[in-house]
Each structure stands twice: as structure tokens, then as C-alpha cells.
């Protein structure tokens, strides 16, 4: 076991996969000489050379399209979005080509690529650097969307994403890079399509992902003291959703709260609620509740920023209210 910071866990995943398969390469802004803006690719340039750790010009749409072309012709690119928000400029290449080209080509080409990088609301980074693109991209067919949340799952999931033959959008969170955890010394993979049961429980199902998992965990401490026993599920895969894990939990608790960092309108939670209504409506003892970020550009001011995203106290209160509901 070795105590590892989350950004280093990601770095180890990339290093191991580049060592294992020489068609794997990294590209993006400042990934090479500079080592990545969050040091996820530190020293890999020295180890693998300038073509395998490629510093690109600031041309998001074009280098993303270039990765698509490289993937179509047999390489396995890993794009680092310096900040995932910048990939708004690459929306076309991600949606039309990474996402849909395999289908429109009738299976002529596969596109094994990973698009990873920091997203989410950080500390007073302002609206443009605090985006949660997972909600924008979830409608694109052909993309897998994953969010990591701990050093352990970050490493295992990234390795799985690199080995996957499909385009994977891989969300990290700016505020989680310095989380620490003891990681196994042996190699391991975490499957992309499995949600993680963080805490089994019986009273209510809390569905969450990325940084909000940690807000939920904090809230659970307070709830436990009050004798409430929630089941916490980290979705991991935002698309497709793992109903093999979510479904049985709903059948057990009959109550669902979703805690997400994306905005409420058109968010991940909105899609989950619709799917739960389709599949498990009869199982529910109460309407699904969703706690999401406010539908506003993330303000710079620290107090306003705190009000924008969901806080542990709010989660606690929402769970208590739901559990108190008489059936």
C-alpha cells in the first residue's frame, strides 16, 4: 500500500498504460514540458518524449479533432482539457466526431479516446472556470461519461477508460486532486459502468457523484447520529447510468435523493428522475428530491459561491425531511 494523492493516482494510471501500450499518447495544453496544470502528466514528457506527450497550441476544437483522426487510424489518444470548460470550444469535434462518427460510418471506425481534465466549482474561480460540462454532453450519443471521486477509483477508472474502445469523457474535480488514499501496490482496474455503493443503508438512497460524494459523506455523519441509515451510491458512470446498482437500492429504500453539482435545469439529476419514473415509479414512497447547483453563472464572491452549490447541512435536512414523511 502506498499513500497517494489523487493527481498522482491519475498520473500513475497514465504512466502504466503508456508503458503497457505504445499507441497510448497524451495531448493538450501544457501537458508536456510544464507537466500539466494540475501535474497529472508530470515528468512523462521526459520519459516518453515529445510525440507521446504532445504539447499542443491553444486550439481545442482542432486538437480534439486531431485526436479523433488519430484514434480512427489506430492510436489511443488521451486529451487533457486544461480545464474541462475550455472544451466548449471542442463541442463540435466531441459531439459530431468523437460521439457520432462510429454510428454514421456504419461501424467502419472505432474511436478509442479519453477526454479528461478538471471540472466543477473550485474556490472562487469565477463562472467560466467553474463549469460542469457533464450535463451539456449527456445528450450526445456514443459518448461514455465518467466522474471519479477518490484516488482509488480515479486510477482504476482512468486505466479502464484508456483501454476502452470508445470515446470516454472523464471528469476530475479541481478540489479533489489533493485527496489522499492508500492504494494497492498491485495493478487494478475499476470498471467504467459500475456505480459504487459508498455506504449501504436502508432508509433512503442518495445518488451522487464527484465532489458531492464528499459533501454527502459529511452529511451522513450527522444523519447517523440521528439514527438515520442512508444508502449512498456514487454513480461513477453518468452515462450510461448503472441501474443494476441503482434499481435494487430503490427497491430496498423506496426513497431517492440526488445530490449533484451541475445546475438543476437539464442536469444529470433531471435525467435520473425521468429514468426512475420510467422504471421504478411503483417502488417510490415519495417523490424523488434533487439537490443541485443554482441555475446561475457561478459567482466569484465566496459567500455567493457557497450558496450556489449544495452544502452538507442542506443534504442532512433534505434526508431528514424525506425520512420523516409518513407513507
Amino acid at each position: 500500500m502506498a499513500e497517494t494523492l489523487l493527481f498522482n493516482a491519475l498520473r500513475e494510471a497514465i504512466d502504466e498504460e503508456m508503458g503497457r501500450d505504445d499507441t497510448v499518447f497524451v495531448l493538450g495544453e501544457d501537458v508536456g514540458v510544464y507537466g500539466g496544470s494540475y501535474k497529472v502528466t508530470k515528468d512523462l514528457y521526459e520519459k516518453y518524449g515529445e510525440l507521446r506527450v504532445l504539447d499542443t497550441p491553444i486550439a481545442e476544437n482542432s486538437f480534439t479533432g486531431m485526436a479523433v483522426g488519430a484514434a480512427m487510424t489506430g492510436l489511443r489518444p488521451i486529451i487533457e482539457g486544461m480545464n474541462m470548460g475550455f472544451l466548449l470550444l471542442a463541442f463540435n469535434q466531441i459531439a459530431n466526431n468523437a460521439g457520432m462518427l462510429r454510428y454514421t460510418s456504419g461501424g467502419n471506425y472505432k474511436i478509442p479516446m479519453v477526454i479528461r481534465g478538471p471540472g466543477g466549482v473550485g474556490r472562487q474561480l469565477g463562472a467560466e472556470h467553474s463549469q460542469r460540462l457533464e450535463a451539456y454532453f449527456q445528450a450526445v450519443p456514443g459518448l461514455k461519461i465518467v466522474a471519479c471521486s477518490t484516488p482509488y477509483n480515479a486510477k482504476g477508472l482512468l486505466k479502464a477508460a484508456i483501454r476502452d474502445d470508445n470515446p470516454v469523457l472523464f471528469f476530475e474535480h479541481v478540489l479533489l486532486y489533493n485527496l489522499k488514499e492508500d492504494l494497492p501496490n498491485h495493478e487494478y482496474i475499476v470498471p467504467l459502468d459500475k456505480a459504487e455503493i459508498v455506504r449501504p443503508g436502508k432508509d433512503v438512497t442518495i445518488l451522487t457523484y464527484s465532489r458531492m460524494r464528499h459533501h454527502v459523506t459529511q452529511a451522513v455523519k450527522g444523519l447517523e447520529k440521528k439514527g438515520i441509515d442512508p444508502e449512498v451510491i456514487d454513480l461513477i458512470s453518468l452515462k450510461p447510468l448503472d441501474f443494476d446498482t441503482i434499481g435494487p437500492s430503490i427497491k430496498k429504500t423506496h426513497r431517492v435523493i440526488i445530490v449533484e453539482e451541475c445546475m438543476k435545469t437539464g442536469g444529470i439529476g433531471a435525467e435520473i428522475i425521468a429514468s426512475i419514473n420510467d422504471r421504478y415509479f411503483d417502488e417510490l414512497d415519495a417523490p424523488v428530491v434533487r439537490l443541485s447547483s443554482q441555475d446561475i453563472p457561478t459567482p466569484y464572491n465566496g459567500k455567493l459561491e457557497t450558496l450556489t452549490i449544495v452544502q452538507p447541512k442542506q443534504i442532512e435536512a433534505a434526508v431528514e425531511a424525506m425520512v420523516a414523511l409518513k407513507v
Binding site: D22, T23, F25, G49, L51, R52, T56, P57, A59, N61, S62, F63, T64, G65, M66, A67, V68, G69, A70, A71, M72, T73, G74, L75, N92, Q93, N96, N97, L101, R102, Y103, T104, S105, G106, G107, N108, Y109, K110, I111, P112, P141, G142, K144, D164, D165, N166
Partner: protein, 342 residues
């Protein structure tokens, strides 16, 4: 009418060509022309749908460039892609079947006219949004260099030819990719088919520097202007650019001055282009011109040309029959091809 650019002169005697090679080029151009004529007919008879962009008039570019490539080189097209696909070796049957939406189409009926693909022929697409194919082509070229220089595979000397229009040369992806191609010396040909129009937008109204080939210079890349109605001229320029790219000397921007003989798409009433302009360019029909060249240089005779035309006519008829008789995709396969494991 805007003043026409003076077409660059090409010294024909310098370009030697064998009779076989000459007829191969001729056949490819005729194939492109007859195929597109058949498409127009089928579209107006309600047999094919969607936006269909024909290539009539521009054949010298596709044949001149793609026939200068090896079969393991890559071709990247736009929505005006039927003839690039044919030149790249995708059988007419499978292109026609694609336009009919059939399972036997080169994209299994899932793509349509603007999304032709064939991994077997290294045809990278078929891109319906302008400009988005340029980065993809760049990626294929990067892949060749990566295999050669990062993986040490000395046989990885494939070249990528990337086609797009004058209007597209005003899009950011064009400039971004010129920069990266020159920066990393990638084996790619940027082939601009300047047909003077982007739907209804005249080239001069859309760009501050209408001479597109000059835009290469700021990237330290050779930029060449060529008469796109002269297949021998296009071929000579392409061969040189391919040789440079294959030798690791980097990209070339080639601006082919050409013209489309039909509207932008089969849905376009084509009311903006003047009669005088159309007639001037029709007089430069690249196929008629090449016929004259072949005869003048005794590379074939009238009978030889007619044989080619007859053979192609038969091939088009066969392609049509094949497309008409092919099955549609099964509704059970609606979700097939979304992910790589299915």
C-alpha cells in the same frame, strides 16, 4: 461580374504520362461525372433523399490528387464526397447503395450522402459540417508520423490528402491545422477546391485575401496555385507534394481553381451565379480538356475513349441495380454501431 483570376500556366510537355496511366485518370474522371449525373436523376425521381452535393466540373482535382496517392494513403473529404470516395477506390455499388440508404452502403445506410466512410480504403469521411474534417485528417497524418518517429516503424510513410472548399478556408480549423501541420511537419496535403462560391456567398465577399494559397506562407508552408480544370497540372502538383510529405518534409497547401457545374446541392436553385460565368467555366470542362490532351499526345484514340465511357456506363448501371436490389438495414439493428463492442 468579378474579374476572373488568371489561371496559372502549366507546362504540359514536362509532364510525361503513359497511355495506361492516362486512361486510368480518364476513367476515374468519367466515373465521377457519370456517377453524379445518375445521382441527379435518381434524386429528382425521388429515389434518394437529404442534401446531395454533386461534384460535376471538379473531377480533375479528385483524380489528379487521389490517383497520385498509394492505396494505403488516407483521404479526407467533405459533404461533397461521392467522387473522392470513388477515386479512393470505394466501389460505385457501395457508394450508390449508401445514397439509397441500404445495408450494403459503405456506411451501412447510416451515413448518407454527406457521411461516406470506408476504413478498408482509408477514406476517413464524409463530414457534413464544414471544416471539421480538417483536424481529423491532421490526426491521421499525425498517426503516420507517430508510428514512424515514436514507434520506429520506418514503413509508416503514409500521406493524408484533405479536401475542402474556398468557403471553409475562412474557418478557424483551417488555420489551426495549418499551424500544427507545419509545426510538426506532418505528411498532409491541404487541397482547397476553390470553386468561387460557398453556396450563395461569393469567395471575394467572404475573405480578405482571395488567393488562398498565399495563406500558407505565414505558416512557413509551401502554397501552390493550380488550374483545377487541368488534371495533368493537378497531378504534377500533387505528386510533388506527396513526395515531399512522404520524405518527411511536411505539408503543402494546394489551391485548385475550379468550378462546380451544378448548384450547391440538388436542392439549390442556383440563381446567383451569372450565365456568363457559368459558360466561361463550362468551356473549360476538365474531361473534354483531358480527352483533347490524350488524343493530341497520341495516348489513345476516339475508340479508346469510347471504350472507357461504355465500360463506366455499364458500371454505373450495375451500381444502380445493386443499390436498388440491396436490402434496407434491419430495424433490429437500430442501436448497432453506437459503441465499439456492438
Amino acid at each position: 461580374m468579378v474579374q476572373e483570376r488568371t489561371l496559372p500556366q502549366f507546362q504540359a510537355p514536362a509532364a510525361q504520362i503513359s497511355p495506361e496511366e492516362g486512361l486510368r485518370l480518364y476513367e476515374d474522371m468519367v466515373l465521377g461525372r457519370y456517377f453524379e449525373d445518375k445521382c441527379a436523376e435518381m434524386y429528382y425521381r425521388g429515389k434518394m433523399f437529404g442534401f446531395v452535393h454533386l461534384y460535376n466540373g471538379q473531377e480533375a482535382v479528385s483524380s489528379g490528387v487521389i490517383k497520385s496517392l498509394r492505396s494505403d494513403d488516407y483521404v479526407c473529404s467533405t459533404y461533397r464526397d461521392h467522387v473522392h470516395a470513388l477515386s479512393a477506390g470505394v466501389p460505385a455499388e457501395n457508394v450508390m447503395a449508401e445514397l439509397f440508404g441500404k445495408e450494403t452502403g459503405c456506411s451501412k445506410g447510416r451515413g448518407g450522402s454527406m457521411h461516406l466512410f470506408s476504413s478498408q480504403h482509408n477514406l476517413l469521411g464524409g463530414f457534413a459540417f464544414i471544416g471539421e474534417g480538417i483536424p481529423v485528417a491532421l490526426g491521421a497524418a499525425f498517426q503516420s508520423r507517430y508510428r514512424k518517429d515514436a514507434l520506429g516503424d520506418s514503413s509508416a510513410d503514409q500521406v493524408t490528402a484533405c479536401f475542402f472548399g474556398d468557403g471553409t478556408s475562412n474557418n478557424g480549423q483551417f488555420f489551426e491545422c495549418l499551424n500544427m501541420a507545419a509545426l510538426w511537419k506532418l505528411p498532409i496535403l491541404f487541397v482547397v477546391e476553390n470553386n468561387k462560391w460557398a453556396i450563395g456567398m461569393a469567395h471575394e465577399r467572404a475573405t480578405s485575401q482571395p488567393e488562398i494559397y498565399k495563406k500558407a506562407a505565414v505558416f512557413g508552408m509551401p502554397g501552390i496555385e493550380v488550374d483545377g480544370m487541368d488534371v495533368m497540372a493537378v497531378r504534377a502538383v500533387a505528386q510533388e507534394a506527396v513526395a515531399r510529405a512522404r520524405a518527411g518534409e511536411g505539408p503543402t497547401l494546394i489551391e485548385c481553381l475550379t468550378y462546380r457545374f451544378r448548384g450547391h446541392s440538388l436542392a439549390d436553385p442556383d440563381e446567383l451565379r451569372s450565365k456568363a460565368e457559368k459558360e466561361a467555366w463550362l468551356a473549360r470542362d476538365p474531361i473534354k480538356r483531358f480527352e483533347a490532351y490524350l488524343l493530341e499526345h497520341n495516348l489513345t484514340d476516339e475508340g479508346g475513349l469510347k471504350d472507357v465511357r461504355d465500360r463506366i456506363q455499364t458500371r454505373i448501371d450495375d451500381a444502380l441495380t445493386f443499390a436498388e436490389e440491396s436490402p434496407e438495414p434491419s430495424p433490429d439493428d437500430l442501436y448497432k454501431y453506437i459503441f465499439a463492442d456492438d
